[in-house]
């Protein structure tokens, strides 16, 4: 009997420790009383920024979540439909799409109390473009006249100047931008993060600034603990229309989305802009989240590129056959659990200038697909390559199966270990078959879906597509000052691209995010971030 007494003692110890655990952890769930709290804290899921927290050096989601609320650009974009509006700009005028006269609003302040003046924009843009500063976003300034002098194409050449000749300060509240060629979308492009103004404090000591950024946006920097969190608080002197209705923003850095999702379900985290694969599987998220599901529309498009440098793939009939053989509706519904919608053009839905059905070969039509496949005379095996992580693999495997079933041709998914390896394959033109080619726009314009990808020699034209007529049409659209006329020309270019099918549009991401009970309202903006101006938190 002595043994069982000991056992009982052990059981008692276990029970006791469990009780202790109960006392120690838990208990952070908040009563959602429904009353909005203007002094509340909003906690969002974050990842460690990949670069320093400077607008010209931030281009990924982790960093921009912190940088964007801290800075206000000349142009802002409305959260719900990405419509551009003048934010810091009083007016942006041009007659020829080449010379832009920009007036800024009076009385706007940086978080350190200094006023935002025209020279803060000019200095910041010059800093961003100057090659020795090695800023990640430097290419965004390439339209401005004099860019080649500060950022020579030859990497060994020394820059001839450290200021772009196209930027001239007229007075404290006005400056003039001259572009090297007419570009009608410049007035929207300057809404991108890289075009934010920088205070004088930055130029005195850029390194110290990166540790403690000073912006002109709705939220100001409080503190940052690497790998743990970035804290911002409301800037009460903010004059813009996207003011926030809560006080503190806590960007909590997670190493795993799964953990963040568990935290969200227990109200320890208020917002996550992307759901982990385990929650998407079998649409579990719909029952988990109910009213806390937040949907938006992201400015992105997923396509399958068919590189022109791969032998045998430069065959229009084959492209048509492949495109017609993919059952987009079924894959987005079953494999992607309704987080995507079928794509039917090269522009994301919701962008001004989007038209349904631009891509005539983007519907599922097995009979026609087979017909074109016969005509193509293609022999051999098809492959689709992509990085396999982050849920990229499953829909492409499904697309491959759909092609296989329809055309009766072998089709394999070829995985790359991670995004880095995948990018080096794509950039090095080492694909041996089709490859994933997703694009998300930096600013909401039809132009950003065409120029960087389909113009001959463009920065992201990874499948070396080249059509002189498309180039000419895009150049014509760039040079058209009238916005509506420009959009029409871009649409014509898109039509021509849809004839050539350099890549096959497959799906368009809806954007599925989640909020906690603690957040009364929260929207998802087109850049896959919480739209902070819509957020209200309860006590």
């Amino acid at each position: 009997m002595r043994g069982s007494t000991r056992f009982r003692a052990a059981a008692a110890v276990t029970t006791l420790s469990l009780l202790l655990l109960t006392a120690c952890g838990g208990g952070s769930s908040s009563g959602s009383s429904g009353e909005a709290d203007p002094n509340g804290t909003f906690t969002v899921y974050g990842t460690e920024p990949q670069n320093t927290l400077i607008p010209t050096n931030t281009n990924e989601l982790g960093g921009s979540k912190a940088v964007d609320p801290m800075f206000a650009e000349l142009v802002g974009f409305k959260g719900e439909n990405a419509e551009p509006f003048n934010q810091m700009a009083e007016s942006i005028t041009t007659t020829d799409s080449k010379v832009y006269d920009i007036k800024i609003k009076h009385g706007w302040k940086f978080h350190d109390g200094t006023e935002v003046k025209a020279k803060n924009f000019v200095d910041a843009w010059n800093y961003g473009a100057y090659a020795p500063n090695g800023q990640i976003n430097s290419t965004f300034f390439e339209n401005i006249e004099g860019y080649a002098d500060v950022h020579p194409e030859d990497e060994n050449a020394k820059p001839a100047a450290d200021k772009m000749s196209g930027l001239v300060v007229k007075n404290d509240y006005e400056f003039q931008v001259t572009l090297s060629a007419p570009f009608s979308v410049f007035g929207i492009k300057i809404g991108y993060t890289a075009f934010a103004p920088l205070p004088d404090a930055f130029f005195k000591d850029p390194k110290a600034f990166a540790q403690h950024p000073i912006g002109n946006g709705p939220m100001k920097f409080v503190s940052r603990t690497p790998n743990a969190d970035i804290k911002l608080t409301r800037f009460d002197g903010y004059q813009g229309q996207d003011k926030v209705k809560f006080k503190d923003l806590d960007i909590k850095i997670y190493s795993s989305q799964e953990t963040a999702y568990q935290d969200l379900l227990s109200n320890k985290l208020d917002f996550i802009e992307t759901l982990p694969p385990s929650a998407l599987a079998g649409s579990k998220y719909k029952t988990d989240l109910k009213d806390n599901l937040v949907t938006g529309h992201l400015l992105g498009i997923s396509t399958i590129a068919i590189p022109y440098y791969v032998p045998g793939y430069d065959n229009l009939d084959l492209r048509k056959a492949i495109s017609l053989a993919i059952d987009r509706a079924q894959i987005t519904k079953t494999v992607m659990n309704d987080t995507y919608v079928p794509a039917d053009g090269y522009v994301s839905q919701g962008i001004p200038g989007y038209r349904p059905g631009v891509c005539k070969f983007c519907k599922f039509d097995p009979a026609q697909a087979k017909m074109y496949f016969q005509k193509s005379g293609f022999k051999g095996k098809l492959t689709i390559a992509s990085n396999a992580d982050g849920g990229r693999k499953e829909p492409l495997v499904a697309a491959c199966n759909s092609i296989k079933k329809t055309l009766g041709v072998a089709c394999d998914f070829v995985p790359a270990t991670d995004f880095g390896q995948w990018r080096s394959i794509v950039v090095g033109h080492k694909l041996t078959g089709m490859g994933r080619a997703d694009w998300s726009a930096d600013y909401p314009s039809i132009e950003d879906f065409l120029n960087p990808i389909f113009r001959t020699g463009a920065s992201s034209n990874d499948s070396v597509y080249s059509n002189p007529q498309v180039d000419a049409k895009l150049a014509e659209a760039d040079g058209t000052a009238d916005k509506d006329a420009a959009v029409k020309l871009y649409q014509q270019a898109e039509d021509m691209i849809a004839q050539d099918l350099p890549s096959i549009p497959v799906w368009d991401e809806k954007g599925v995010a989640a909020k906690s009970d603690h957040a009364k309202t929260a929207g998802l903006d087109f850049r896959r971030r919480a739209d902070l101006s819509t957020v209200e938190v309860t006590k």
């Binding site: 043994g3 069982s4 000991r6 056992f7 052990a10 420790s17 469990l18 202790l20 655990l21 109960t22 120690c24 952890g25 838990g26 952070s28 769930s29 460690e48 990949q50 670069n51 320093t52 281009n59 990924e60 020795p132 500063n133 090695g134 800023q135 990640i136 430097s138 290419t139 950022h151 990497e155 390194k207 990166a210 603990t225 690497p226 790998n227 743990a228 997670y254 190493s255 795993s256 799964e258 953990t259 963040a260 568990q262 935290d263 379900l265 227990s266 320890k268 991670d418 995004f419 880095g420 390896q421 995948w422 990018r423 080096s424 950039v427 997703d438 694009w439 998300s440 920065s459 992201s460």
Partner: protein, 308 residues
């Protein structure tokens, strides 16, 4: 004894250089461009690549790179991550948390593992013995990440007893469940190791003598039996503290603990070679130090073990 300590300390030097060189080579010699994928769907501007290449001496060959790294390491500079954080600061922020977690894990595994081992070792076959056998087999067969995720989901999300993730600077209370997850595997090993050791020594001559001399039972077990049986367990516990500092990679990843394991976890994810090398160098030092301490403790526990 002092000569032995000195000799052991001198041995640390080649081991340190050898291991750090291996780590450095393995981490930085991974094929592939460290900057691919850094700039999203666009290729990185050449100016950015040039700046980074110069900063991390990527143009030099690996040997030169390694010595440049060591050089700055000896001046106390652990280098910088790609996003401009000082690796030394990152380590300084995170090691106390990992140390706390590792100590909790060691305490849990020592207390539970040792008591289970002593009880079953003394008692021999029976219900308790079978229970410990089954439960340790179960624990050993579970990978740490499964234990961690199950604990997190069951205790955290389902029952709401704990938080699914741990705060930035967690106290002891928050770290108990991650500590259990981290220590569970070693706890099972310790229970079995102790059990075998005790069962073996129970019939040793000196125990019989002690009992025959009329020593009280508590003294026979507490002093004579335990002292001799605990030596192999101590070896295990000592090196385990080193292993736990590194083994925390998975646990810290799951519970989002901002410690050394989490630092490596993120470093590997983001290909932050500087962080990975820095932390691993530190772990090598901890490991070397722990095995030294264990060796020295032998002499304390067992006077028969003489070193010179």
């Amino acid at each position: 004894m002092i000569r032995y300590v000195l000799r052991r300390l001198l041995q640390l030097i080649p081991v340190f250089f050898g291991t750090t060189f291996l780590i450095y080579t393995l981490v930085w010699a991974v094929p592939g461009d460290p900057f691919s994928g850094k700039c999203g769907q666009q290729a990185c501007p050449q100016a950015y690549i040039d700046l980074m290449t110069e900063k991390f001496h990527l143009d030099d060959n690996l040997i030169v790179q390694y010595f440049k790294y060591l050089g700055s390491l000896f001046t106390g500079d652990w280098g910088e991550t790609f996003n401009g954080n000082s690796v030394g600061e990152l380590i300084a922020n995170s090691y106390p948390i990992t140390l706390r977690l590792a100590i909790i894990a060691v305490i849990i595994e020592a207390v539970i593992g040792l008591s289970a081992g002593v009880l079953t070792g003394l008692r021999g076959r029976g219900f308790l013995d079978n229970l410990v056998l089954v439960s340790t087999t179960f624990l050993i067969s579970l990978p740490v990440f499964v234990t961690a995720i199950v604990l997190q989901i069951v205790l955290g999300t389902e029952f709401g007893l704990i938080d699914a993730s741990v705060s930035d600077d967690p106290g002891i209370g928050e770290l108990i469940v991650p500590g259990i997850a981290l220590g569970s595997l070693s706890m099972a090993y310790i229970a079995r190791l102790t059990r075998t050791s005790i069962a073996e020594n129970r019939h040793a001559d000196y125990i019989r003598t002690a009992i025959a001399k009329g020593q009280p039972n508590s003294r026979v077990i507490g002093v004579h039996l335990l002292r001799n049986s605990v030596i192999p367990v101590l070896t295990f516990l000592g090196t385990d503290l080193g292993a736990l500092m590194g083994g925390a990679i998975v646990t810290e990843g799951v519970f989002n603990i901002n410690g050394l394991g989490g630092l490596i976890f993120r470093g590997i994810q983001n290909r932050e070679s500087a962080t990975v090398v820095g932390v691993v160098v530190l772990l090598v030092l901890v490991y070397l130090l722990m095995s030294l301490i264990v060796d020295l403790l032998y002499a304390v526990l067992d006077p028969r073990i003489r070193y010179d």
